[in-house]
């Protein structure tokens, strides 16, 4: 039970930090924020690695392998598409236009 209490502590504090940080993100960046969140929620891959890490193909291992796959789609896809999107955001280069 003690570990549950600790987990609840950690969760609650993290939610507060999340609220604090995300409120400051301007609407300009809300779409990259969401695709970036996709990638971050792929952190489940850590749990999936533990589940799949066995030298057998029992059901629990197979489910773990599938979980790794889905989580990695999120991780790689999410980070890459966010980077691609953020690369498009450019500031106006006044000098480029000249007169």
């Amino acid at each position: 039970m003690e570990s549950l209490i600790v987990s609840i502590y950690v969760f609650t504090l993290a939610v507060f930090i999340g609220f604090e940080l995300i409120t400051k993100v301007p609407p300009l960046l809300h779409t990259p924020l969401m695709s970036g969140s996709n990638a971050i929620s792929g952190i489940t891959v850590v749990g999936a690695l533990l589940a799949a890490n066995a030298n057998n193909w029992k059901l629990s291992t197979v489910l773990g392998v599938l979980a790794i796959m889905f989580a990695m789609i999120n991780v790689i896809g999410g980070f890459m598409v966010t980077d691609r999107m953020l690369g498009m955001f450019k500031k106006d280069k006044k000098t480029e236009k000249g007169a």
Partner: protein
């Protein structure tokens, strides 16, 4: 070793937080994303190092397959399809959590399984599965596989209620007899149906809210898995995503002046396809029709233009030619700005991305609150493919579905130009009185064709 593991997870968590902080500014956002990437890489590596690689084939198969699929999607996806992609990825986050939780049920990492582990396991199965099926429905609606209109079953809310009761009962049965394999499967089944019945009554126009909410759930699902495994980096990263999704959900609701309850249970909206509701009979008011050439002539005499883009712009793929026009106007010394309503586009911030893709610099993109006072000093408000977000009926007409929704004050500009395909009303089905105003110029046609015509006329002068 346990200390090494814990401290490394702590480092990863801190990097996630710093990454999100940097995502808060356009200048540092890319670096923020890279910090989060580093955090993820660190978490993955330490997990493998600490647990020892017992099944290298299994791990490589999963990582390579997922990485390849994710990479291909990220490279190929069109920016207009971002909402679908995010919806699908929310679902993947959900199913990953469910799979991990179920695998943990079959083959527990620590024995004996305590009551709190069992309770969090139920939560993880439930949230993960609801996120999965709900997201698949949202994806199908956005992709056009399913009709966008709300689908309401007979006794819909009672069904939802029964499913929730079912989950609670199965959960209690499971906790009392964890060895019976039927209970966790029943929890998954009820959650799967609930995810579907939860999203199908929500109309296509409300999908931005639903994607944001499911984004939050996918984070909570990861957190719940963290509870099951007592793993803090999962709990923290999941909580950050959960909070983020929740804030965006609230912002979207505020931008439509709707409560989350109304969005989820109101079954508001008609078919997703372009509104064909005419002007509605009654008194026949006259509209002044203009051509792209007329519009170009006006543009020749003005000093300031605010462009209001809506989703119709993206549908017509007119962003690039619009940017070309804006460049031409800027070159003539005209002050050009873009006003972005929070619900322009199909997901939070979508319109900004679509314009950024067309090379529009982000410092001419203004949020509603920052630009609304400028319309009164502006010569032309050019509205392209938007309607509801500029409808003044939202301010005055109490019985309108739009009433109270914050709008862009385009009607304060000296001249209002609408580029629209027809007189049709927007999603809300509310006619726009501004169409009939003396200072309004209606230019009918496909956004791309009209703006191309504008550019051509401007060039000829």
């Amino acid at each position: 070793m346990i200390y090494l593991e814990q401290f490394t997870y702590l480092l990863a968590s801190a990097l996630f937080i710093i990454g999100l902080k940097y995502l808060g500014s356009a200048k540092t956002a890319r670096r923020g994303n890279q910090y989060a990437m580093m955090a993820m890489a660190i978490a993955i590596v330490i997990t493998l190092v600490i647990s020892g690689i017992a099944g290298p084939v299994q791990i490589i198969v999963g990582m390579v397959a997922g990485g390849l699929i994710g990479g291909i999607i990220a490279k190929r996806i069109e920016m207009t399809s971002m909402p679908q992609m995010v919806a699908l990825f929310n679902g993947f986050g959900g199913i990953a959590s469910t799979l991990v939780a179920y695998s943990e049920y079959l083959e527990p990492t620590t024995l004996p399984i305590t009551l709190d582990v069992n309770i969090t396991l139920i939560l993880s199965l439930f949230i993960g599965t609801v996120t999965l099926t709900g997201s698949l429905i949202a994806f199908a609606k956005l992709q056009g596989i399913m009709p966008g209109r709300p689908i309401v079953l007979p006794m819909h809310q009672i069904l939802n209620f029964l499913l929730m009761i079912g989950v609670v009962i199965f959960g209690v049965m499971y906790v009392m007899a964890p060895d019976v394999p039927m209970w966790p499967l029943l929890i998954i089944a009820a959650a799967a149906i609930f995810g579907i019945t939860f999203v199908i009554p929500i109309g296509g126009a409300d999908m931005p809210v639903v994607i944001a909410l499911l984004n939050s759930y996918s984070g909570l699902a990861a957190s719940a898995t963290g509870f099951v495994l007592s793993n803090n980096v999962l709990i923290i990263a999941g909580a950050l995503v959960g909070a983020s999704g929740l804030i965006l959900t609230q912002l979207m609701c505020d931008a439509m002046n709707r409560s989350l309850f109304n969005v989820l249970f109101g079954a508001v909206g008609t078919d997703d396809s372009t509104g064909d509701a005419g002007t509605g009979g009654g008194e026949q008011k006259t509209v002044t029709r203009y051509t792209a050439e007329d519009a170009a002539m006006i543009m020749d005499t003005v000093q300031s233009v605010i462009i209001v883009p809506g989703y119709g712009l993206a549908v017509a793929q007119a962003q690039h030619v619009l940017h070309e026009m804006a460049e031409m106007l800027t070159a003539r010394g005209i002050d050009v700005k873009y006003a972005i309503h929070p619900v322009a586009g199909r997901m939070p911030g979508h319109m900004n991305v679509l314009l950024a893709e067309a090379n529009v610099p982000y410092d001419v993109l203004y949020e509603m609150d920052d630009i609304n006072d400028e319309f009164q000093n502006t010569d032309v408000a050019l509205i392209i493919g938007a309607n509801d977000v500029v409808n003044p009926a939202a301010r005055t007409k109490k019985d309108s579905p739009l009433y109270g929704m914050p709008i862009l004050n385009v009607d304060y500009a000296r001249t209002v130009m609408f580029v629209k395909r027809s007189m049709g009303a927007g999603f809300a089905g509310e006619a726009n009185p501004l169409f009939f105003d003396d200072k309004t110029m209606m230019v009918f046609g496909d956004a791309k064709a009209v703006v191309t015509g504008l550019v051509k006329s401007l060039k000829e002068e």
